[in-house]
């Protein structure tokens, strides 16, 4: 984590914090990295506004992290306000209108935009349109920063075949005071092991009755991969409900 603390410092609670907008980019699991910062903020009894463009916010990871730091996961999770965008038009609407309406106009808010460019990397969206929208979004984030809000952005680079969309990342880079690249180490086989274990087994008194209970994420199988974590999360709590 050491090398990324400069960017996460944008989330520090201080009126003298010189960083207003920080951008983490690269091919590492940036959401996970950002979640360390987000949980820390929530643990300090501050609210965090999370805008998620990659459907990547992982509540179970947050819960696990919170517990690891001796916090009640419910408390930490309830301090996080989240909205997911599945199209770049939704993301633009979220940043340019909804965010401003939601945060307090005078207090300084902590904002995290996860996978901000994901929806803009959609090749169904004309590049010119994407550029125009990212410009508007970047300008709006600049405004919010000027008004004392602190913003952490994560964005991965476009896939091969969409390299011309690199310009979108450049636009974001230009709007941030702190920019860092973080790349993932080579993949290991443990990731695969977790991915095969698709079950979330948990106890919910009335449901157990000799049968295991599992949730399958029919809409999003990737999420079911978090099985291992979820299990750990509830095992530590004895029993509970999701």
């Amino acid at each position: 984590m050491q090398s990324h603390t400069r960017c996460l410092r944008v989330l520090d609670d201080s009126a003298y914090n010189p960083i207003q907008i920080a951008l983490l980019f690269g091919n590492a699991d940036l959401t996970r990295l950002a979640l360390f910062g987000i949980v820390r903020v929530a643990a300090e009894q501050r609210a965090v506004w999370v805008l998620d463009g990659g459907n990547s916010f992982d509540a179970y990871f947050v819960a696990r992290l919170a517990r690891g730091w001796g916090m009640a996961p419910e408390v930490v999770l309830s301090r996080i306000q989240l909205s997911r965008a599945f199209t770049c038009y939704q993301m633009s609407e979220l940043i340019t209108r909804r965010l401003g309406a939601a945060i307090h106009p005078s207090a300084s808010a902590t904002i995290a935009c996860l996978d901000l460019l994901e929806t803009f990397y959609d090749d169904d969206v004309a590049l010119a349109d994407a550029i125009r929208l990212v410009r508007t979004v970047a300008a709006r984030l600049g405004d919010l920063a000027k008004r004392g809000n602190h913003i952490l952005i994560t964005a991965r680079e476009p896939r091969a075949g969409l390299r011309e969309r690199m310009v979108l990342l450049d636009l974001l880079k230009a709007s941030a005071q702190q920019v860092e690249r973080v790349d993932a180490p080579a993949p290991t086989s443990t990731a695969r092991t977790v991915a095969t274990q698709r079950q979330l087994v948990f106890a919910r008194g009335d449901l157990v009755n000799g049968t295991n209970v599992t949730f399958v994420y029919a809409s999003d199988f990737e999420r079911a991969n978090r099985a291992g974590e979820i299990q750990a999360c509830f095992a530590a709590r004895g029993s509970g409900s999701v």
Partner: protein, 773 residues
């Protein structure tokens, strides 16, 4: 608009109709005025007028500018120019396809039976539709068919397969000799003109046959009348790969014809399950032209039906989905972001098990409980809450999605009823195919609530549906248990129940410890009725299994997994999920072996009898293993089909798939992520990687295949079938060990195809290869 019509005698007519499509622009009055001025300044032939339409989410009637475009060819161009000149305004109905808009305006649909009044110029004066998409029985026009394909196995010619061109027309099959390109083109031209087909069916016509033939036709200046409409060339779309739900999808090129249809069997969402009958049914219901219907996913279909509902209601269809998710806390997310509920199956073999399924559960929830993007979290109905997640659902406004899916569910139920009541026969098969097509439409209508391209999708509606779904399953389980039944497994919308007793345990020697008596599973009607009454969602008996085996996970034989089971219904029908036979990457040889074994097991009336059949299954396994080891298996049955998950060169580990793909690349074939590759395992552990696997198209049958590797795959399939009977893998391997069959490898069919030149059809392919080399 040009409308092609086939009359009752089967003759095709090209008619013209005057049609003025319109899109809408939203904004404040001053902005709309500026748009009107802009349109005038551009000198486009459009008519702009102020009007009112309904906005979906608020339900309010809003003032919009209606822009009618008189020249159809300019509709898309004008819409694009305007949106890029004034990107900040709201646009509606601008990207609905013109044929669909035409159908909306005329209340018509593809394959509808209509009466026309024409003027002498073949221009439509009146069009009266004497048909309904909801009709259960309807007549299809008499269609003349022509099949164009390559001789032999349907192997992808883009991967190097070479064979002569074959043309099939009613009753006649002709092989076109390719030595003389002119003669080939002229023969084909004559066949097209003489038979004048309504429908051209091809294998690889989109990506290979039609493009090559059209290239040749251009080169030799011999026009091929693929289109009935001579004024336009076929419409070509290049191939591309894209990401969808986190995986890469490859879409091949397409060749769409005017005045007749082209359907490429290898580029069609025509599953064996619903075929052309189903595709026609989807076209009628969705108002999407047939050539597009077969080339797009069924998700597009349901989206089109929603758009039609919106059009009917005067609801604006937003160009871009802008409404983001409402803010929710991390805790709310944990509560709402879940899928279906699953109770892991009780591992092993069970007798007399009933499977009960909610009928189209998610669509039924939407229809019955009014779940739709605009009805979720309404302000006016705080008392009507979704269980577990607490969203409100409107009781005052009928949702757009429920209104769309309800008649579809009804039609499917009606077909299913007829299928149950009818004897086997062609008519029953037609109904079966149509209801199977409905099933696909309904499945995607749920996925589409949350999907990015879903025009009327909204994540909260998706979450509400799954929450209701979990509640329904939970209630069903409780009701079954309260009636003294034992729930063995429940999976999203299905519940497996049996009389309350322990699972059967099997000994190695094949005898079973059966506790309790064989129950006569009497009447489940009361159970079904109570569940339907409590949940308000209909549930039906899928069937009663004589026996069902819930199989363990491949990774851990003590762990049960959902959707991996084998069962035999009382009538003898086999149902299986998650086993080799159902997997796309299982070689046909292994599929045939496993099916044969299952058929033997299906004859067992009870678990006790089942165990006596183990020796027969082993006999079958031995015969298949012998065939493999003696080289008697036709190599076509050994082919393994897998999808490239990335660019072939991006595979860092040399898997068999990567090796085969790289060999294809080396021979000049272009491959894209998402494409399927076929290969044969030649020697899995060969020192030289290239010897480990060969692309199917390069395999001529002379070189050996890796018999022991295929035996391994076979044994795995045997184990799947026998593990619930207490027989494990090492035992099976011992029984099916080498040396039981012929030691010598028999002389195999040598490749029929040793010719090196296949004529001009492939000339361009060869040249392209040379160029890429």
């Amino acid at each position: 608009m040009i409308v092609w019509v086939i009359d009752t005698e089967g003759r095709a007519h090209c008619l013209r109709d005057t049609f003025t499509p319109a899109f809408f622009v939203g904004g404040d009055p001053a902005e709309l005025l500026a748009v009107a001025h802009f349109l005038i300044d551009q000198g486009w032939s459009v008519k702009a007028s102020r009007t009112k339409r309904t906005e979906l989410f608020s339900g309010h009637s809003i003032g919009v500018l209606q822009v009618e475009v008189t020249n159809l060819n300019l509709f898309t161009i004008i819409f694009e120019r305007l949106t890029s000149a004034k990107p900040r305004l709201s646009y509606y109905n601008g990207d609905i396809s013109l044929p669909q808009m035409y159908f909306f305006a005329r209340n018509a649909f593809p394959l509808a039976f209509c009466h026309f009044v024409l003027n002498g110029d073949n221009r439509i004066l009146t069009l009266e539709v004497d048909d309904s998409p909801w009709a259960l029985d309807y007549k299809l026009p008499p269609l003349k068919r022509m099949v164009i394909r390559l001789e032999g196995d349907a192997i992808n010619p883009n991967h190097g397969y070479r064979a002569p061109l074959v043309v099939e027309t009613e009753g006649a099959t002709r092989e076109l000799n390719g030595d003389d390109p002119r003669a080939l083109l002229e023969t084909l031209r004559d066949l097209l003109m003489r038979h004048d087909p309504d429908l051209i069916v091809t294998d690889w016509g989109d990506s290979f046959i039609l493009p090559r033939l059209l290239q040749m036709s251009k080169k030799y200046n011999i026009p091929l009348p693929f289109n009935r409409d001579p004024s336009r060339p076929p419409q070509f779309r290049p191939p591309h790969s894209y990401f969808s739900y986190g995986r890469i999808v490859y879409k091949t090129a397409s060749q769409v014809l005017f005045g007749r249809w082209h359907i490429d069997r290898h580029n069609a969402f025509l599953t064996d399950d619903y075929g052309l009958e189903g595709a026609f049914e989807i076209a009628r219901l969705t108002q999407i032209p047939v050539q597009r219907v077969v080339r797009t996913s069924t998700g597009t279909g349901i989206s089109a039906m929603e758009i039609a509902t919106a059009y009917r209601r005067g609801v604006l269809v937003p160009w871009h989905k802008q409404e983001p998710e409402a803010w929710k806390s991390g805790l709310d997310l944990v509560r709402s972001d879940k899928g279906g509920l699953v109770y892991q199956p009780v591992l092993g073999l069970h007798e007399d098990v009933a499977e009960i399924d909610f009928v189209s559960m998610y669509p039924s929830i939407m229809a019955r409980l009014n779940v739709s993007p605009e009805t979720v979290n309404c302000k006016c109905c705080p008392d009507n809450r979704v269980p577990e997640i607490g969203y409100s659902i409107c009781k005052k406004r009928r949702g757009l999605v429920p209104e769309t899916v309800e008649p579809l569910i009804r039609k499917r139920v009606e077909y299913k009823k007829r299928i149950r009541e009818m004897p086997d026969g062609p008519e029953r098969e037609v109904y079966r195919r149509r209801q199977s097509a409905h099933k696909w439409l309904l499945v995607t209508c749920f996925g589409y609530l949350g999907y990015k391209n879903a025009r009327f999708g909204r994540i909260e509606a998706h979450e509400a549906v799954t929450a209701y779904g979990r509640e329904c399953l939970l209630r069903a389980k409780e009701i079954a248990e309260s009636r003294g039944l034992r729930v063995l497994h429940a999976n999203v919308d299905s519940v497996w129940v049996a009389q309350d007793r322990r699972p059967l345990t099997a000994d190695r020697d094949g005898s079973a410890a059966v506790s309790g008596q064989r129950s006569v599973v009497s009447d489940y009607d009361a159970l079904l009725e109570e569940i339907t009454q409590v949940t308000r969602i209909p549930i039906a008996l899928e069937g009663i299994y004589r026996w069902v085996a819930f199989l363990p996970s491949r990774q851990d034989e003590k762990m049960s997994v959902a959707n991996r089971y084998i069962g035999v219904f009382e009538e003898g029908e086999i149902k299986m999920r998650g086993i080799e036979t159902r997997r796309r990457d299982t070689p046909p040889f292994v599929v045939a072996a496993q099916m044969e074994m299952l058929q033997v097991l299906a004859s067992a009336e009870s678990c006790k009898e089942l165990k006596t059949l183990v020796p027969r299954v082993i006999e079958i396994a031995c015969a298949y293993a012998d065939a493999l080891r003696s080289g008697q298996v036709p190599y076509q049955n050994l082919v393994i089909t897998k999808r490239l998950s990335r660019d072939p060169m991006a595979y860092s580990k040399d898997t068999l798939l990567a090796i085969a793909a790289k060999e294809l690349l080396g021979s000049g074939v272009e491959l894209s992520p998402g494409e399927s590759i076929q290969y044969i395992i030649t020697e899995e552990h060969a020192h030289a990687k290239i010897d480990r696997a060969r692309p199917f198209v390069h395999y001529r049958g002379q070189e050996p295949y890796d018999a022991e590797k295929y035996v391994e795959l076979l044994l795995r399939a045997v184990e799947t079938v026998l593990i619930p009977l207490g027989v494990d893998g090492s035992q099976i391997a011992e029984w099916v060990k080498e040396g039981t069959g012929e030691a010598e490898r028999a002389q195999r069919d040598l490749a029929k195809k040793t010719v090196e030149s296949w004529g001009p059809l492939f000339e361009f392919a060869e040249r392209a290869k040379v160029a890429t080399r």
